[in-house]
Symmetry: C2
Subunit: 408 residues, 2 copies
């Protein structure tokens, strides 16, 4: 059902020097599927991340944040599907730590140098022994040209693996970047999406990576929504191995800007891929809100549209029932919104202005756009210069089917 989303092209995914990936079938929830990913990072790599703000934050997220805060040099990431290790209390923390210890023993590093990530069913105990049992196969599989298998290994209800890569010149050195993500449901990132990992072999200055991960999340993973539910396990992690040999990119430099654009490009492809492969999605919808007094209010309007079940079902039906868009705009919480100054466009079709339907709007024009698989909703608020874009999908029967049957 994914909307205009092809499997990743291996040839566009150049190895990121210093990042080896290995996958295994550990039988965590179901047998016969890749469900475990180990990423080994070369010494000297820097790692930064942004994480869910859900108060029922999953145990691996808590442990990952502790390990990053400890200042340890991160040497490995471990990702399992099939079990989120969320809503598991103190026992969940102990199980996440046990996994780090098993990885440390396998790779010859310390447990606090390992970052654990989990995705899957909430409130079930994590099967540590099955995960440990899969580690030797992961280690045997470690290699730099393994991004597509890595993308496949973190899929849950995703129908298409999500990987993206770019290369650029940085101060005369060739730099590679690649990333993978998983999504599908419980997608309304507050800091980052379910699981997104982007790595580069560029060198970056000590304080630059934290800034980069926040800037990139804010304009990519933080701009998508499938169903408005923020996951307990959201994590977006950025890795820089420094193996490309460029001078460390410092904040404010041209190299920083170039690297930022390349990494944001990788992240944007992954974030949009999550929406294209959103549970039950049949349409990919870009909601662009302009002319706001602040970016926050533009984002509120965009999310009011992206989260409205009535708007989403109208897109599913290709029905230009566009009054629902006006109702959503009116619900965005802007108390002093002057609706007479609001304009609404569907692609290039002016639908509403002056508080109601535009005189030149014709139903057949709206119908033509609504039939497309990719649609841009553009709202001009008439209050200022700020703008914001959110990517979302429609709400279909398939979404209900997938989520009614998720555990069976």
């Amino acid at each position: 059902m994914a909307v205009n989303l092809l499997p990743p092209d291996r040839r566009a995914l150049a190895p990121v020097h210093g990042v080896e990936l290995g996958v295994a079938m550990a039988g965590i929830r179901k047998a016969g599927r890749r469900d475990l990913l180990l990423v080994r990072l070369a010494p000297g790599s820097r790692v930064a991340g942004v994480f869910t703000r859900n108060r029922f934050c999953a145990a691996p997220v808590t442990v990952t944040k502790q390990h990053l805060a400890s200042g340890a040099e991160i040497r490995a990431l471990l990702v399992n599907t099939g079990n989120a290790n969320a809503g598991t209390g103190a026992d969940g923390i102990a199980r996440a730590r046990a996994c780090c210890e098993r990885v440390a023993a396998a790779l010859g590093c310390e447990a606090r140098e390992v970052l654990p990530f989990s995705t899957g069913v909430i409130m079930e105990p994590l099967p540590v022994e099955r995960i440990a049992g899969g580690l030797p196969a992961c280690v045997a599989d470690l290699r730099e040209d393994n991004w597509v298998a890595a993308a496949e290994s973190i899929m849950t209800t995703d129908t298409v693996p999500k990987a993206s890569g770019r290369s650029l010149e940085l101060d005369g050195r060739r730099v590679n970047a690649a990333g993978i993500a998983k999504g599908a449901g419980m997608i309304r990132p507050d800091m980052a999406t379910m699981l997104g990992f982007v790595a580069t072999d560029a060198a970056v200055a000590p304080d630059a990576l934290d800034r980069l991960v926040r800037e990139i999340a804010d304009e990519t993973f933080n701009c998508i929504s499938v169903d408005g539910d923020t996951s307990t396990n959201d994590a977006f992690v950025l890795v820089a191995t420094g193996r490309a040999g460029n001078p460390p990119a410092a904040i404010g430099s041209a190299a920083y800007a170039g690297l930022r654009d390349a990494l944001a490009g990788v992240a944007a492809v992954l974030a949009q891929a999550i929406v294209r492969d959103g549970e039950g999605a049949t349409k990919f919808i870009t909601v662009r809100v302009e002319g706001g007094a602040s970016r926050d209010e533009c984002r509120s309007v965009a999310y009011a549209i992206a989260h409205s079940p009535l708007v989403k079902t109208a897109f599913f039906a290709s029905d230009p029932n566009l009054g629902r868009l006006l109702a959503a705009i009116g619900n965005a919480g802007i108390r002093d919104l002057d609706v007479d100054r609001v304009s609404l466009y569907l692609d290039d079709v002016l639908v509403a202005a002056g508080g109601g339907r535009h005189p030149a709007y014709r139903e057949e024009d709206g119908q033509r756009v609504m039939r497309q698989a990719e649609i841009t909703v553009r709202v001009v608020l008439g209050r200022g210069e700020a703008r914001s874009t959110v990517w979302t999908c429609d709400l279909s029967h398939e979404y209900v089917t997938i989520n009614a049957e998720y555990r069976t």
Copy 2:
């Protein structure tokens, strides 16, 4: 599909003296269905209302608020289905006023003594002439024992008409109260639900009715959600004709309290009926949040649960995938929530405590409750004494079908 909802019992709906109702088939959107309701109020009646906070507030809501604010003695309400007259700009206001003028001419009163209400498709011009054409039949049909027909005439995607009545003694006088409502979709009232009208023949003191309508809305219509979308046309109106002959009930008196309880009882039945007949509903879910630091935060948690598509599809599937409830609680925006102090119950079954699944919880107990048509989710936050209750329903295939095909 309505959950445990029977058609109203005519015998429980005693006439409210001073309130006459007449309905007609005006062919507003489709032929052959009752789509127009006229309510005539006896001289001396008091009317108060609460209305949507959607900024794309419908034209009839704007006109109704103006007429109430003018201090005019309200003599009639006019309600049409099939067209919401929302997102219609200045032309919509003119059409709403034209309808009031036609009613005034038919009843021999002034246009500002008429309150107009509309429900139906947004952003289409209101067919004033069809409405005017239906008025003579409405006038001919006016009578006090016509509440069930009135409830039928304001249905849109509702499958069951919604009416409720009560009688009580007030200072030695028999007082009757009755009400009707419509709902089904775009239901997340911010001030009141789509359309709710409750009338009594009690006399009330001049300032008491405004207080009553707010108090009652706050604990009934403002506590429900079907799909989290706040309508452009929400209105809850309370009428007191004074024909029962009791001394006017003043704020703070025993009579006020008695009347308040009776009217809130009528409104609660109607509000819950809207959820029971929510679009595609197969389950009626009471979300009770206790132990909060404030009522607002309890309500935030209750709505986070009631609005989560993942929670709602799990209820539809009767699947005790209860980690989704924890995730929703964690998303309610309480930044300092200590999840270790949160307890989660499904009816009488303790599901989670101490940040995770309770050791005594058994899947078959959760499964037993999830199979029921009526379920109470109880969350104890462990932060204080405040509480709040929200009523909602599940999210089914039928919801998608209804809203994908609404205009066809």
